[in-house]
Subunit: 279 residues, 4 copies
């Protein structure tokens, strides 16, 4: 009896190693094939949305989607069983995403509403974020995040200023241009302001009066200047990071206390006062 | 009699503390609820501009706007009464904005012109700038402003060059393309040039001749290069700020040899090995 | 007789001082009123191009233009007379621009072709460049020019790469999309590529096939990345300038030979080997 | 007999020198005339694609193209003959491009399909890349490449994030807007997302519902922020390069105390006052 339990425990530990870790060969193989399956599944959803393709290969698409859904279901159950505290997984972010990206096809039996089905199916795309877990190991992703995080207050001030500006300019344009030019409401004016300020410029709403076009010109030049701000923030942040990394090029270590990060001109250890070896 | 005066003075001091300062709990609470009220009022103006919404909830919007206007009126009177030199407030920028954002609804009784009313109501949006007072405390807003201010001559030269360029190119395009392509006047040509140079590109006015399209291509590449200038200015300015901040972070000097630029965790001088004073 | 010559010489010297120099009060006054006149003249040309305005104030515009033209003629003659080598002025860049911006209205008597007249009149706008002479004195304009000049090889490589890319992509799009989508020739394809790469995006020519749209997406992302290159070049150049300026913050001077620009950690003069004073 | 061989060998060596090297005057002359010929050939292809021009000068264009094709054929044969291992050239990248840019006109005899011909002719444009070989010698091109290569992981993370974002947003917009607004399939949604995020903004597909326009606004602001990332990366990279170059410009070390980082004009060591060796 005890032996049987041990077998189960072993089997569980092995499954856990394969599913949750990426260090062992089988764990790596599992992760790569999972990512491949997610990509195929997303590709199928994209193809299904192309009407001409869907009409020709409808049956194939349905069968392929069912196979992938069943594989995802098995994966979900395996994840649930192989962990000691399964409900911590179930209520984690990835646990919920895993469930939501598996369930819609089953639900279509009980509630035969194909349109609704497609909506929920889109959430499956969020699975792509799981792949980001791998990218995390590349230190650069962390650096990008850090650079953005370090400048979060700057970015907040920037977005806040843009929101206020776009509300005021949007209202002014709504009053100046009015309904003939497509500025049917203040939200439409704000929509136009953002389109113009970010230099997207669809041209679906466009000022027609001289005054409106003059304001538009000012908004464009302003937007052109404003684009410099986030770019400047991130550039400076990256430059700082490069510089901080440069400090680590001094690899001198104190022969007494092994302290690092000495000044380039240091003769004595800053930590214990011991004489440093000549570089 | 004197006691009565003291009561008034106390009451006035308390009101002043609540309205003009944000340090005490009640002062903070007042500022936050004021911002909330401003946001609600702006939101109502935006909703009222959406025709379908206005038709359904016209009465509700009118009542809500009246309530907010009355609250703003009380606030204005309180600000007027609680300060010792009330007219300094009345003629300050915020004093004028406060009045202008309160008055339009009252004016609508004497001059029943609803269209005009909406125009003045838009100024109420300027109240959002008051919230910026809070943001000011975040040092980053100051930094942003400083970076822009330090590069004001560069920006002036840049804008001046852009204005000259757009006038010349706008005239050339007016001559080359003419009225068929929508270049009905030189101002329209300038409008098109700014749209193209800032890479907005609405597509409402577009060159049709080969020569016009060739000029357009040159303008686009030029605009693409020009965008680098404000970005470069701001980036360099932020980099400088980062550097200056880094230098000022450690002002420790060795009590023996007066060496500077010690590491943040330094206990001993890197130059002479002497013990440093605790920071 | 000699006295008379002296009077002429004096009068000539005075005129030269007023017209060609900006240091004396009268010289400054002359330059400012000239710039004002040029701006008014440009403004009139712009207003004349607006049909509705031209129909109402045609006579006024014609008279105003004649007055300005006569004033410019007087200025041209004065410039010619007050200089010792007048033909060096006549064949200089500004001399030619001055003549070309004065002559068209006179020519309209001999050749009564108003349309042609307007074309030449546009050159008068080039006079705006003369104002740049003043801006030159602001050191920032020089810095901007230096930053661009220092990175001229980088910019050349960049533009060369963009030209090659746009020719190849333009040809591919011409073959893929063809005449239905507006890609009627390779130049049109190149025009579209530049519009897309510089993120202008008029929308006058737009890919219709799936393959064309896929290529368009690649071009857009590429253009998005390419925009980073000129920006990066100019940013780095400005940063370098800021840094070079920073070096001058060490104001130590050798007490022996008065050499400047010592290292921050320097104890001895790099020029004469003398001990430096403690900073 | 042996003499004859020597003559051939000499002739081969000379031809090799002219064709493959650019150091000798004849080699330089050959390269420049080849580049000129390529440019003319590309220009002719571009002109031929302009229908109005082609109808007028069809015969001239055909003859000019045949002359250039024959010259390119001779060049190809010469390249083949002058090298010792000719097949290493044939299967090199430039060998294949040379063949592909020469062959189409000959093929048109066997398969008289002029349309197909034009498609292959476009590959001839790739010859332009050969010119890049010359540019390589300008160190800046190498710097640009290095800066991009050094930040390859950052760029990869960036593109990966953009692809995921555009797939998710594209799907959401397909569900929100549907076929009426032109979002006929998920790929169309992705196409729209890239157009919006890169701030190109054609306006061929545009959101019509309030929800869609709200999402569009978020995507635009996001894209506006995202543009900062590649720019920041490249800027920081260029700044680093500028700095590294500055450091390496002076490698002088004091012969007495071995101090580094001397000024460019230093004669004496800043650390010990010893005379420095002449650079």
């Amino acid at each position: 009896m005890k032996e049987n339990k041990d077998v189960v425990r072993n089997w569980k530990a092995k499954l856990h190693e394969i599913i949750y870790e990426a260090d062992t060969p089988t764990g790596k193989w599992f992760d790569i094939s999972l990512i491949f399956l997610i990509l195929v599944s997303i590709f199928l959803v994209i193809l299904e949305s192309v009407e001409s393709f869907d009409q020709q290969y409808h049956d194939f698409l349905i069968i392929a989607e069912w196979i992938i859904t069943i594989l995802f279901s098995i994966e979900y159950i395996a994840r649930f069983l192989s962990i000691n505290k399964p409900f911590r997984y179930v209520f984690s972010f990835y646990g919920i995403v895993d469930l939501l990206s598996t369930i819609p096809l089953y639900l279509s039996f009980i509630f035969p509403g194909s349109q609704v089905l497609i909506v929920i199916r889109a959430i499956r795309l969020l699975r792509l974020f799981r792949i980001l877990k791998m990218v995390k190991f590349i230190g650069e992703a962390r650096k990008l995040k850090e650079a953005l995080w370090d400048s979060r207050t700057k970015i907040a001030v920037f977005i806040f200023t843009m929101v206020i500006l776009s509300v005021i300019i949007g209202t002014v344009m709504y009053l100046v241009e009015g309904k003939d030019a497509g500025f049917t409401s203040i939200p439409k004016g704000i929509y136009w302001t953002i389109i113009t300020m970010t230099t997207v410029g669809y041209g679906d709403i466009v000022p027609l009066t001289s005054l409106g076009q003059t304001i538009a010109v000012i908004v464009m030049v302003m937007g052109y200047g404003i684009i410099a701000v986030p770019t400047g923030i991130v550039s400076a942040e990256f430059s700082k990071q490069n510089k901080l990394n440069k400090i680590h090029t001094n690899t001198q270590a104190c022969p007494n206390c092994n302290a690092h990060n000495h000044n380039d001109h240091a003769k004595y250890c800053y930590n214990c006062g011991n004489l440093l070896n000549e570089a």
